[in-house]
Amino acid sequence: MTESVTERPFVHFDGVQKSYDGETLVVKDLNLEIAPGEFVTMLGPSGSGKTTCLMMLAGFEAATSGEIYLKGEPINNVPPHKRNIGMVFQNYALFPHMTVAENLAFPLQVRKMRRKDVKDKVARALGMVQMDEFGSRKPAQLSGGQQQRVALARALVFEPQLILMDEPLGALDKQLREHMQYEIKHIHEQLGVTVVYVTHDQSEALTMSDRIAVFDDGVIQQLAPPAELYERPENAFVAQFIGENNRLPGKVTAIENGVARVALDNGPEVLALAINCGEVGNRTVLSIRPERVQVNHVTDANRLDGHVQELIYLGDHIRCRMQVCGNDDFIVKVPNSPEHAMLREGETCTVGWNTEDCRALDLAHGAM
């Protein structure tokens, strides 16, 4: 997908800034290109500016500076109803006084479509979300998941090429949410529309997206496909925000071939990939995923003592909280398999990791 971006972006944020009060920027210099047919998720904590970006794209907020292009056309001065962008809202925003079929017919009626065409398209859209029999119901008579489907069908029924979704699954329970994630993903693949999706739920983002833009403080911290985001976070915020992460602060003592030698606070020197740690002498934070920590079978040079504090049995794996180098929150996931010795609380063991699994990152977001 990334190759096609260079050809002709479908959506293009060019140096967009947004401020509500003229004093602080909610969105700082946003540059983002989205290819046709791509599923891009804006992920970030609340207040990070992701929803504001979506609202600017939909036309409900005006960019304070910069320009947004849709299919190469600047759209800053195009009112929302002329942008032809489908949108699914957080609480579905179904019109309560209309039936499901009337809700779906609404965008077609305002486009002055013929009555028969409206009927056909509504029926097809309902079929797509498996809601054929619910056309005559009012939204209040539907469950959350059904309302979600109707909202999705309504955003799709007038065949827009771009769909925006603002935390559409936030109000559903976990099981239904996961089910709907797959369903949205399938509809996206089936129709080939471009989707911009906003969420604060990282597992949702990882499941569905082609690329994820991680927002914090009005800035995209990293824009990458899900696997890369998890495996190779570029800064401490992304490492901490996506998935579980162990952090060990220290000081860079040497950098050689992209590998940093780091003297841990209250611990020995270890090796880590130098990603974003600056120069020798800088303070840094090491980031290691819990499942990449080795216990007692340490293969690499990085060896530390761990004191087992707490064990939580989770079936397929055991979650172990240890004290490592004075850090009480060092989490290790030990697979529940015969070759792994059972740990006991209070025990001291050896933990370690492969150098390429440990990343030395900036301290800016990592200040604890």
């Binding site: 929302p80 609480n91 006084h97 955003a155």
Partner: protein
């Protein structure tokens, strides 16, 4: 849940573990809390009953029942009621009448009786008082003695009027309230054209209430919209301005309108100053229908704004946004999505303003002049001046019936559950 079926009694009812039906058990367990809830509302219930429900029922009762005659003329009342109203009055009737008159004069109640009969036929008041003065000296045959005292006693209409007055339970007042006359034969005939005022007044009251409701809606809807869309700080300030009239006495506000609207008042002065009208032809904005409409609209406006505002505030902004994202223009989004969502508020506000204005009294009385009087002013007149409480009660009863019918209509069309007062 297998044991739930095991607990079923022979008649299919669910049983509790001790064998009593579950429903009875539930009632029993709820008894204490029900009693406590009842105890909490009891003082208010008694107060409302004593000060509101019972007086209203009693007053409504006076609308169909007036025992002034029956209570003060005990001998003649049953005879009059028994009389067929067309045959010649008998000597027995005359004798009872004369004896009653002597007693009533002693008890000083003859005046009340006389005005009661007078309501059925004008001119009978003096007939009664005059005859009562002479009654003590009358001698049998009393029929002739009465005619000698006043020849009107020979007129059968006098006796027919008395018959109506002697009947305590009567639809006469309701008939009068609807501009009909109830005759001694038990028939309803239309009142003379010049005396038909009530029906016209009812229509006028309904018309004024409807107009006030419409003006309140036209003026209040945009304000409510603004209120619900402003940031909290400004909305609070505006809300205080909306509520300000509530904190000022109704009388003060109405008199303020007099100062504003009278022919030498602020508004007319401005009109003259602007050259809109000459000094000699000032607009008459008060002591007529215009004054009533202006003052009532102003006073009832908050009752329209508040319910609409509370409904508007509950409409998620995403609904209008969704409509726009689906391709609706601002107007279509408003008319097809936003406006239908505000209908419960419009209904509540409209019903509230209409019901309040249909019984409005002080404002029309002060600024309405001759032309701006409503049915409530007429009811007050009968309560305070003419002392015809029964007619006042009948008028009030009809007013109540109109409100109830409107309420029922509203429930049928909009549904009372949709009403939101805030």
């Amino acid at each position: 849940m297998t044991d739930a079926t095991a607990n079923q009694g022979p008649d299919g009812l669910l049983l509790a573990t001790d064998g009593t039906p579950l429903k009875a058990k539930l009632r029993q367990s709820m008894k204490a809390s029900r009693r406590r809830a009842f105890g909490l509302v009891l003082p208010l219930l008694l107060f409302v009953l004593a000060s509101f429900v019972i007086p209203i029922i009693m007053l409504l009762w006076t609308g169909v029942s007036n025992d002034t005659y029956a209570a003060n003329m005990p001998r003649s009342a049953p005879l009059m009621r028994a009389w067929d109203g067309s045959s010649q009055p008998t000597e027995a009737m005359a004798e009872a009448m004369v004896l009653d008159m002597i007693d009533a004069r002693k008890a000083k109640t003859i005046g009340k009786v006389a005005s009661r009969v007078n309501r059925e036929q004008s001119g009978t008041r003096s007939l009664y008082t005059k005859s009562a003065r002479r009654a003590a000296k009358m001698e049998p045959p009393f029929l002739d003695a009465l005619v000698k005292a006043d020849k009107d006693w020979a007129d059968i209409e006098t006796w027919r009027a008395t018959k109506i007055a002697a009947t305590s339970l009567t639809p006469a007042y309701y008939a009068a309230a609807l501009d009909y006359k109830y005759t001694a034969d038990g028939e309803f005939v239309e009142q003379d054209e010049v005396r038909q005022i009530h029906v016209q007044l009812f229509w006028k009251t309904i018309w004024v209430s409807g107009a006030v409701m419409l003006f309140c809606l036209l003026l209040g809807y945009p304000v409510a919209y603004l209120l619900s869309h402003l940031p909290a700080k400004k909305a609070n300030l505006l809300m205080i301005l909306v509520l300000l009239p509530f904190w000022t006495s109704l009388l003060v506000r109405t008199t303020a309108w007099i100062a504003m609207l009278q022919s030498q008042g602020v508004l007319n002065d401005i009109f003259v100053w602007l050259g809109i009208t000459g000094d000699e032809q000032r607009f008459s904005l008060i002591y007529n229908m215009t004054g009533t409409l202006i003052a009532m609209t102003h006073i009832l406006l908050p009752f329209m704004i508040l319910p609409i505002y509370s409904v508007m505030r509950a409409i998620p902004p995403s609904h209008v946004r969704a409509a726009k994202s689906l391709g609706a223009t601002n107007w279509t989004a408003f008319w097809r999505v936003y406006f239908p969502a505000t209908i419960p508020g419009i209904g509540a506000g409209g019903l509230l303003v209409f019901i309040l204005s249909i019984g409005y009294y002080i404002t029309p009385a002060l600024v309405g002049g001759q032309d701006g009087q409503l049915i409530s002013n007429f009811i007050a007149y009968h309560m305070q001046r003419s002392l015809n409480w029964s007619l006042a009660a009948a008028l009030g009863g009809i007013l109540l019936a109109i409100v109830l019918v409107l309420y029922w209509l509203y429930d049928r069309i909009v549904g009372i559950d949709n009403m939101k007062l805030g």
